[in-house]
Amino acid sequence: MNTRLVLALVVSGAVALTACGGGTTKDSAGDQTGGATNAAKGDPNAALKEGLKITFLPKQVNNPYFTVAQKGAEQAGTAIKAEVKPTGPSDAAASSQVTYINTAAQQKQDALVISANDANAVAPALKSARQQGLKVVTFDSDAAPDARDVFINQATSNEIAAGQVKLISEAVGGSGEIAILSATPNATNQNAWIEVMKTELAKPEYSGLELVETAYGNDDDQTSFQKTQGLLQAHPNLKGIISPTTVGVAAAARYLSSSEYKGKVQLTGLGTPNQMRKFVQDGTVKSFALWDPSKLGYLATYTAAALASGQITGAEGEKYKAGDLGDYTIGAKGEVVLGPPTVFTKDNIDQFDF
């Protein structure tokens, strides 16, 4: 048996397999403790500099989620006359961004906008870049807090989870049994959201809703299908399902749309408009939510420009304006929250393409 051949094939395949990422199941590192310490004070009245050189570094290139974020970053770049340069690795491995960070520092860029593949693997390179004068803004997925200036969080766990409960409550008319179809049983952010949903459901305004089961579809089409069927059979009175994961919500929608439960059991969750368009149009899903990745890229780029222009330093309480998106305030741990997720319905879904 030619073991070398096996090794070569397996290794080449394994490399290809690691190329995945983006979406709703990765762990946002936004809850980490610590904070960027900045001695200098920002000047809120300083004008945004023109001709800033900003490197945009997503987790991986060719990932649809980050392609949309990049569009937003480029829009912001045009608006503030900055040069936004997108670059990045083709795989989302922990250490693959390091060389790109070093390159940005060597090219004497003014700022770096990055979604970290790994909170700690990129930290030494980011720290070294900051010592060389680069301002570092993380978005979507944070790096270690002492390695960046500001983190742009897409939405807080509270906003996401409370929004989901509100949507399902509206869809089922305020009362009835509901269930959750999650991703994997150990996904950090999913479990954080589920905990907040439980707290929300305990509130008086949701007293009519009863959470009967949490199922795990493992972000796999087939498993999510089966778990949806199982939920419907195990709970004859089930009125609604929340699936806060892009794979789960699409699978559940596809199953409901092709079964006799269509229209009888409501569904909401976190999904992309392109994925869910069909099911919103055919009436299976009334509404669902997700943040707009392009706004995330837009805000991150504006924040980077504000840092590089000396408007802000990343200290808590500093205020700045991010173009069309309006005013933002830096929160605890150097964190800025984009805002509540966008809710998509039949009326507005055609305005979005991602």
């Binding site: 048996m1 094939l9 397996v10 397999l17 990932n63 089961e213 199982g230 368009r277």
Partner: protein, 347 residues
């Protein structure tokens, strides 16, 4: 196993042995049906909704894609080989089919599905050539192509996803359409099972697959074109996986490059549970398809019975192990019985 049989064997002894082997074959299939009943009946007593038409349709639909792959896999396993690449072939075919439909909105349904089948066929041909002509063990070849095909899939997809809104309604309807209450996907699977079963049972080249699996050297000496037959089984397995990929699109509607990841293990499990000997030489496609149905039903009933998610995989695994144990015991008894019958005839 049976290569020692000579014309000198007394006819009565030989028929006795053959009768035994047929009986064991039937016992295996019957065993799965009994196991199915043991799973379905208690679940239905606890939750009567489990046997409502919608639920029964779902059970059959859930099993149909794995059952299809299991049919192709059976052909390969009977010849003492294995095709681990089926999950990746399905994924590649599913993505390319979906993208083909999305890029060419006017594509006729059958042409698009034919495209998926062609993708699978090409993958199977590569596997077959490496195994049959390259003389590399199939485990090694298909473990390699498992990663290669998935890698190609990732490279072509570039993180893209094809959504239900981009697929023609004709294709999506195929995933949920019914004829006389039976889902079309299930009917397609049944047709493939019947064709493969008749081929294995009544055609010379089909019977030769069993001979190759029982004893490859003896098969070569008996003048069976072993390399050609092996090539054919891999091509057929790829072809079926390509078809399964196209049907996957029809069923799930949303396809990215990860479709069917890890499916090969479910398929091999279904084949083994279905009584196909993992070392070749015996087994039927009907058994393998029933194995797929049993495994799918077990998963569904664990969900319906609200067994905690954390336990479901462990229970599935335990049931798989017990099925393999029964299979091994039966195989040993059969081998012993055959040896005895040969021994006496030579005396």
């Amino acid at each position: 196993m049976t290569a020692q049989l000579t014309p000198a064997v007394a006819p009565s002894r030989r028929t006795a042995a053959r009768r035994l082997s047929t009986r064991v074959g039937r016992v295996r299939e019957l065993g799965i049906v009994v196991a199915l009943a043991l799973v379905v009946i208690p679940t239905a007593i606890v939750n009567p909704r489990f046997i409502q038409p919608q639920s029964l349709r779902d059970l059959l639909l859930n099993a149909s894609i794995v059952a299809l792959l299991a049919v192709g896999q059976t052909l390969v396993v009977i010849t003492r080989n294995v095709d681990l690449s089926v999950g990746s072939v399905l994924g590649l075919s599913a993505f390319l089919t979906a993208q083909h439909f999305a890029d060419n909105p006017g594509t006729p349904l059958l042409l698009g599905i034919g495209f998926g089948i062609a993708v699978g066929l090409a993958c199977g041909l590569l596997n077959g050539l490496l195994v049959a002509l390259g003389n590399v063990p199939s485990l090694v070849v298909t473990l390699g192509t498992l990663y290669v095909f998935r890698g190609v899939d990732f490279a072509l997809a570039q993180g893209k996803q094809v959504n239900a809104a981009n697929l023609p309604d004709a294709l999506l309807n195929l995933g949920s359409a019914r004829v006389m209450g039976i889902p079309v996907l299930v009917l397609i699977t049944l047709v493939v099972i019947v064709v493969a079963a008749v081929y294995l049972r009544s055609y010379r080249s089909g019977r030769e697959l069993y001979a190759i699996g029982s004893n490859p050297e003896a098969a070569t000496l008996a003048g069976i074109p072993v390399a050609k037959r092996m090539l054919t089984t891999f091509v057929l397995s790829g072809l079926v996986a390509g078809l399964a990929g196209a049907l996957w699109v029809a069923r799930y509607g949303t396809v990215d490059a990860a479709a069917g990841t890890g499916l090969e293990l479910q398929v091999v499990a279904a084949v083994v549970v279905g009584g196909v000997a993992i070392f070749g030489g015996s087994g039927t496609v009907t058994g393998a398809a029933l194995g797929a149905l049993l495994l799918g039903t077990i998963t569904s009933c664990l969900v319906v019975l609200q067994i905690p998610a954390f336990w479901q995989q462990a229970i599935s695994g335990a049931l798989l192990l017990s099925a393999i144990t029964v299979d091994r015991l039966l195989a040993l008894r059969l081998a012993k019985a055959l040896r005895t019958s040969e021994g006496t005839s030579h005396a």
